[in-house]
């Protein structure tokens, strides 16, 4: 009986929280490092199609995005789909230069792994995509990917 009494008499214990800030800071630094603050600012609308056979990109730094879609600022750029490279609305003629600039950012050994990702809106016609494809072939950037969101097999029709 005395044993039980002893325990009761201890009362509530306080947990030592002095290391809590350290733990939180550790998590904080992790997320600070993992966060990429700014992606490309979107100038065109890209709601991507769905597909079941999509694959994940190997490495994000090896992927160069080309956005195609109707401009968000229709009063400036009109309604017809345009190409966006980095942060700028561009034309098909700028694609080669864009790829050349992106190639300079990586080492020579990595160049064959560079993938161009076309993130195009559902409503875009193939003509503009085909022009981009031709430009990419001209500059020998042959790894291509059409960005699509994952959907289970059979659901796509």
């Amino acid at each position: 009986m005395s044993k039980f009494k002893k325990k009761e008499s201890r009362g509530s214990q306080t947990i030592n929280t002095s290391s809590l800030p350290d733990i939180v800071f550790m998590l904080l630094f992790f997320f600070m490092v993992a966060t990429k603050m700014r992606d490309n600012e979107m100038k065109v609308r890209t709601s991507v199609p769905k597909a079941s056979e999509v694959e994940k990109m190997e490495k994000k730094s090896w992927v160069n995005f080309i956005f195609v879609g109707p401009p968000l600022k229709t009063e400036v750029y009109g309604e017809t789909p345009r190409i966006q490279l980095n942060d700028k609305i561009s034309s098909v003629d700028d694609v080669q230069e864009f790829i050349t600039l992106e190639r300079e950012k990586v080492t020579e050994a990595e160049i064959p792994f560079l993938t161009t990702a076309i993130k195009a809106d559902k409503e875009v016609k193939m003509g503009i995509v085909q022009d981009i494809k031709q430009e990419l072939r001209k500059i020998n950037a042959l790894k291509l990917s059409y960005i699509a969101s994952k959907e289970e097999r059979g659901a796509v029709q």
């Binding site: 800030p21 939180v24 597909a51 079941s52 020998n140 790894k143 990917s145 960005i147």
Partner: protein, 182 residues
């Protein structure tokens, strides 16, 4: 001259955790870790000079055409996207039985041709269906022979290469052409 021992003022660090939490929550919310997914495609290099005379026998090539109204023509017949998976599979698994389809899976080619007016979503849908047929055929073969689906096979291992060799993904895209009718 003994100095009076000065008391060192202590900073109350109790709210440190709160501040850190606030920042943590901010970064948690802003972090995006999604990896983009997409349909991987290999483009053919631009040939030097005129394209070589095709040596492919007609029956090894499954011709898929998409027009500007997003209608599908497979081997000269109208078709729906939903049928494409089945047709491609028949083409791949034919092994010379039906003279209209491929003689062997190793030589089977799917030729995809689209119009400039085709919708991107239709094109991706068609490409996806063809790729799905290939992946499913590969899975079936791999399942029957090695007991697990193709995706579970180790890359560059002998079974992996064998499946890949048996069903090579050959989706050829014709030189762009304006078929008109916008």
């Amino acid at each position: 001259m003994a100095r009076k021992p000065r008391s060192v003022p202590e900073i109350n660090a109790g709210s440190m955790a709160d501040i850190a939490f606030l920042l943590l929550v901010f970064f948690l919310v802003t972090t995006t870790m999604d990896i983009p997914t997409g349909l991987q495609v290999g483009l053919p290099p631009i040939p030097d000079g005129p394209p070589p005379e095709s040596k492919q026998r007609q029956k090894n090539v499954l011709e898929v055409l998409i027009n500007s109204r997003n209608q599908l023509l497979v081997e000269g017949d109208l078709a729906e996207i939903s049928q494409l998976n089945e047709i491609t599979k028949t083409h791949l698994l034919n092994e010379g039985r039906d003279p209209r389809y491929a003689e062997s899976s190793e030589e089977a080619i799917v030729s995809l041709k689209n119009d400039r007016g085709t919708d991107f979503v239709t094109y991706v849908g068609v490409y996806n269906e063809i790729k799905r047929a290939y992946n499913e055929v590969r899975d079936e073969y791999s399942e029957a022979k090695f007991g697990k689906p193709f995706a579970k096979l180790k890359k560059k291992s002998v079974p992996y290469d064998e499946v890949k060799k048996k069903y090579p993904i050959k989706i050829s895209e014709a030189e762009p052409e304006d078929m008109g009718g916008n």
